[in-house]
């Protein structure tokens, strides 16, 4: 599932957006992703005693070279919040979405 949280009406009750900013000459936009969104729902159990990690494997070129992450969105739907509340935090799901960086631009002169 690549759909980030909050892309339909009131589907997210809390969201955070983390992104790169600035760049060469301070004139780059606040995010310059190279890929589309990828998303996963992660769970934390027993008040953090056991957690679900998220190894990111899609941020790479076809030869395996890593690109890094450009932008992350974290959010919770009302159902995730209710589950956390009902279980008094013993089960705490979160939706995480990310987009990868662009590769460094190749440049020169065509001779």
């Amino acid at each position: 599932m690549s759909k980030p949280i909050g892309t339909s009406r009131f589907s997210a009750m809390s969201t955070y957006l983390i992104y790169q900013d600035g760049g060469i000459g301070d004139s780059q936009p606040q995010n310059m992703p190279g890929t589309e969104w990828e998303s996963r729902t992660l769970h934390s159990f027993a008040w953090g005693l056991y957690r679900q990690d998220l190894p990111v494997t899609n941020c790479r070129l076809a030869n395996g070279q890593r690109l890094g992450i450009e932008e992350i969105r974290i959010g919770r739907s009302i159902w995730m919040m209710l589950l956390t509340l009902v279980t008094l935090g013993a089960v705490a799901p979160t939706r995480v979405s990310w987009r990868c960086c662009r590769p460094p631009s190749q440049s020169g002169v065509l001779e």
């Binding site: 936009p29 662009r102 590769p103 065509l110």
Partner: protein, 514 residues
């Protein structure tokens, strides 16, 4: 190299989440070569084109539609498909072209200003390449037209007809000198004007492409929103580095503004490069805000001005994604004029360029993460019709009690066959941001009715509209332009109906362009 995500059917939405959809697959294309080595130079351009051509043939074999995607900034359904979505953003190389590969007739003084940029290069990356990487000021260059932001890809901004506010130049498609396109025929194409050739046969041979030198095909292919195949690279005509100098925001009366616009229709101003104005349809004072700038010589060391459209405060807080959805619920209780009054003040504070100087790469950096649930309608008229359009637009807005202000940017008429910025001598683009609800198509329906009643020729922005049908398309462009565009498309695909159908989006079918 092609890298399908191999996730099969998946939900996808543009940056502004205006039309969520399900695509059959997302395929990333990058510059890694067959041996796993990151390619550069000629090899990079050639292999990227061949990879895209191969991908199109695979789509044909799979019987699925295919559509390239840039940054996904379009607010209309122009970038929506149910087939394969091709992510070109990893194709972001840019090279100067050696003199020996430029056409003998191409003017000597312009030769250092032509670059070959890959389709997925972001405008911000192109600006950095042109303005910041050269060590000597004399070698720095700048793009000749830009939108208010720089997050679009080169191919996306060109084929979707992104416009800026360049009174004496045109819109972004107007800086294109040539196109490297993959159509699935087994050999890529290099398309340029016969009347203004830019590269020679040796250049085309290096790309492994077939040369099409034809004005009609070039003008049609430039604004073709992904339906002429997949653009692999673009030859960009840039200008020697320059800056723009914005003074104080002016607050003319409607009467003075209309007089200025009427004057532009007969005598385009030689001393202004950027010109935009904002008006509040409910403003009883009948005044507008004007931001304008002349082109001035490059002065080294000018710091980048504070970016406009940054809606995050100094503590990092910004409106959340549910804000507009909540505001939409209250809209019917609050007088629209009260909301537009607040918007007007905020626009002056955070959006309109004011008392700053900089290069295009420093000035046009807006990258607001559009609020989800927001959409825009943009319609273009000749500048001579702009005074009447202020009234028409305001009347429709007031009749529908819509609580939004209007932004208008002016640019010289474009040459693209279906460029919505084609209105001579200067095109005025009216942009109207609003909530994405049932009032959006109704707003455009009423506008269309009012324009026809007033006898004003207009055109809708390809990336900012609620839908274009054949009747509307004919009113906007006339039968000759539409026929020319279709003929050019057939020529590009060698009249191969199977390949043409791969690139038929619902939007173009509904518009009668298939």
């Amino acid at each position: 190299m092609l890298s399908p995500e191999k996730q099969g059917l998946q939900e996808w939405a543009s940056v502004h989440v205006t039309h969520p959809t399900t695509v059959a697959e997302i395929i990333n294309v990058d510059n890694v070569g067959p041996d796993g080595v990151l390619l550069s130079g000629w090899e990079m351009f050639r292999f990227a084109g061949e990879s895209l051509d191969l991908l199109i043939r695979q789509a044909r074999d799979a019987g699925t539609r295919i559509l390239p995607i840039g940054s996904g900034w379009a607010l209309s359904r122009i970038n929506i498909t149910d087939g394969w979505l091709v992510n070109t953003k990893l194709l972001n190389g840019c090279y100067d072209i050696g003199d020996q590969y430029l056409h003998a007739d191409y003017p000597a003084e312009k030769r250092p200003n032509v670059v070959l940029a890959q389709a997925g290069m972001q405008i911000a990356e192109l600006n950095a390449y042109l303005e910041l990487i050269p060590r000597n000021d004399a070698d720095r260059r700048a793009i000749q037209a830009a939108g208010i932001g720089n997050g679009q890809t080169i191919a996306g901004s060109v084929s979707g007809n992104t416009h800026g506010s360049q009174l004496t130049f045109g819109a972004m498609p107007d800086w294109v000198a040539g196109l490297h396109i993959a159509t699935g025929s087994g050999q890529t194409l290099w398309i340029e004007r016969k009347s203004k050739p830019v590269v020679n046969d040796a250049f085309v041979a290096k790309l492994g492409a077939k040369l099409i030198r034809d004005d009609d095909i070039f003008h049609a292919a430039v604004v073709s929103f992904g339906t002429f195949g997949i653009i692999a690279a673009v030859a960009v005509e840039t200008a020697p580095i320059y800056q723009l100098e914005f003074g104080d925001i002016a607050d003319p009366s409607y009467a003075d503004l209309k007089k200025t616009l009427t004057g532009f229709a007969t005598t385009p101003p030689a001393n202004l490069y950027h010109y935009e104005f904002i008006f509040d349809p409910y403003n009883k004072k009948q005044t507008a805000m004007v931001g304008s700038a002349p082109k001035v010589p490059f002065k080294p060391g000018v710091p980048t001005p504070r970016p406009r459209w940054i809606i995050r405060d100094k503590f990092g807080y910004a409106p959340g994604i549910n804000l507009l959805k909540i505001l939409g619920l209250f809209r019917s209780f609050v007088p629209p004029g009260l909301i537009t009054g607040l918007e007007y003040k905020q626009y002056r504070k955070i959006a309109l360029l004011n008392r700053c100087r900089g290069t295009p790469g420093q000035i046009y950096t807006s990258s607001v993460y559009y609020l989800e649930g927001y959409i825009e309608s943009a319609y273009a008229v000749s500048v001579g019709d702009a005074p009447a359009t202020i009234e028409i637009s305001s009347e429709v807005v007031r009749a529908m009690r819509l609580p939004y202000i209007n932004q208008v940017r002016l640019c010289r008429a474009s040459t693209g066959t279906l460029a919505f910025t084609h209105h001579e001598p200067i095109t005025a683009v009216f942009e109207y941001g609003m909530l994405h609800d049932g009032k959006y198509p109704e707003f455009e329906r009423r506008l269309d009715e009012a324009f026809r009643k007033a006898g004003i020729r207009y055109s809708m922005h390809w990336s900012k509209n609620s839908g274009i049908d054949p009747a509307k398309l004919e009113y906007m462009y006339g039968t000759a332009r539409i026929a020319s565009w279709k003929a050019a498309r057939r020529a590009v695909f060698g009249n191969d109906q199977t390949l043409m159908k791969l690139f038929e989006t619902d939007t173009m079918v509904e518009a009668g362009l298939a």
